[in-house]
Symmetry: C2
Amino acid sequence: AGDPAAGQAKAAVCAACHGADGKAVIPGYPNLAGQNELYLVNSMKAYRSGDRKPVGNGAVMAGQAAALSDADIENLAAYFAAMAN
Amino acid sequence: AGDPAAGQAKAAVCAACHGADGKAVIPGYPNLAGQNELYLVNSMKAYRSGDRKPVGNGAVMAGQAAALSDADIENLAAYFAAMAN
């Protein structure tokens, strides 16, 4: 599993849409706080690979995920999954 | 917005994967409790239209969503969004 602390260091940019507390600040964006860790890993990897096409507001996600390494993804998933919701 | 009570009546089948309390019972499946309502609507519609391809464990979602009307989707989204998480 990933390292939540390392995930937190990586998560500043995520807060713009998903909220510093993991609660979406933009309607239509998913809350991430307390989400299932493996689901988060699969989702980010699918955005990065293009398997998951952004739907509706999600167009920005492909660009965000493209810049993430596997370790980044594991750490971000651990960070948000552990976040109280 | 949808009607959570009508959503609850429709949600029995969802519980098998997403949990009766909206917490995924299968790792890799998303928790739905307290998720953003519009995100849930967009996701179910995207599974139904095929815009969102199931990734990993999500193959079953296309079949589930195919059977849902717009009203079903609105009601299910309201039900899970209102669910305490």
